[in-house]
């Protein structure tokens, strides 16, 4: 059967419905929990095996040794593909993903974040 303007009923009923569009920057969008967003690093737990660096598909992680059993991580959010493979590779669970996803920046340097190791308290002893 052929009917012109088949969608008309649905289309007119849309007039009385709320728009499906979300006015994004004004209405914040909730991501489901366990959404793979920005990666955070806990220097306390890191043992410096550097397996995360090896497995990262984008080469976004750089782990540096800054002292005896002290490591700091440098992340390039511009390179990261948010696959969260590093969080699975890390057997000490020093890397975790958060739900944060609004990371855009006009400055490339701002995308590079460093997780510093805790200041050395053994030196003060």
């Amino acid at each position: 059967m052929i009917r012109p303007a088949k969608m008309i009923r649905q289309v007119l009923s849309s007039l009385f419905k709320k728009p499906a569009t979300n006015l994004y920057p004004f209405n914040k969008f909730e991501m489901p929990d366990k959404f793979r967003g920005k990666i955070v690093f806990d220097p306390e737990l890191c043992v410096g095996c550097k397996l995360c660096m090896k497995d990262c598909p984008a080469g976004a992680i750089n782990i540096k040794k800054v002292g005896e059993k002290k490591f700091e991580a440098e992340f390039d959010l511009g390179k990261c593909v948010y696959c969260a493979q590093c969080t699975e590779t890390c057997f000490k669970k020093a890397l975790k993903f958060t739900g944060e996803f609004e990371l855009a920046s006009l400055d490339r340097e701002k995308l590079k974040i460093t997780f510093n190791a805790k200041p050395d308290d053994t030196a003060s002893k």
């Binding site: 303007a5 289309v11 569009t21």
Partner: protein
Amino acid sequence: MIGSLLSIFIFPGFLFLMVFGLSAEFIDRKLYARLQNRVGPPWFQPVADLIKLFSKEDIIPEEANPAMFKAMPILALTATITSFFYIPTWRNEALYHFNGDLIIVLYLLTLPTLSYFLGGWYSTSLFSKIGAVRTLTQLFAYEVPLLMSILAPALLADTWSLTEMAVFYSAHPWYWLFNILGFFVALITLLGKLEKVPFDIPEAETEIVAGTFTEYSGRLLGLFRLSMDIELIVGASLLAAVYMPFGLAISPIFAFILFLIKVLSIVAMVSVLRTVFARLRIDQMVNFCWRYLAPFSFLQILIILALKGFLVR
């Protein structure tokens, strides 16, 4: 002298038509969006678009004929504005009228289409040329049904003047109901004239980019956009004047508000129609116009002739 200048530039001339045209564009876009379950643009969007276009540089292709390229948007705009002066708005009498002004309005409404054709043709881009040829092909398809369906109410009123038609229908308030078939034919052909879905073939963006307007930019494109908005208004007012000629004689303010309601409801009908169809192909469009629309408008004329025989006089 000052009175006519005022009426040409302020009301019901250029300024009024610009404001009304832009608000009609807003209503059309907002309604289109809401029908598609979207939010749609804010109220100032058409003005903002126009200001943006007017503040930009005009780029004229090297191959194009500069004189024709520049003249066409102005021709389109002036033709549409002029045609509005013959349409009754707040009383039975239009600003200017003489016997035969109906034909003049239709002629002036053909000029923008012709200027789209010439503008596209002289910009020499391939997409523009295809769009231009499609514009003209489409013109030949919808012009005859449009003319015939507008002929019917004029035949009933026995005049070629929109003003005299308004006078006639004020004297016989319910006679406009006889023209209802013609109204629907004219509404569909209006979609073709305004190049809206399903007849937006001349500017089908997925096929030929923007058709005629591919090479236009800046102020010239702004003028074309404005003339299309005003064409929407003038087309809708023509339909309102011809098919809904009631309530004009009561009081000027009431009649004017009624006129606005009539025009905006026709604009709304155009938006609804352009929501529910897919774009036709040019051969299908020509076929549809000649096979379905032309016979229906002919039927309308026959109805009117029969009525005139034993009902009216």
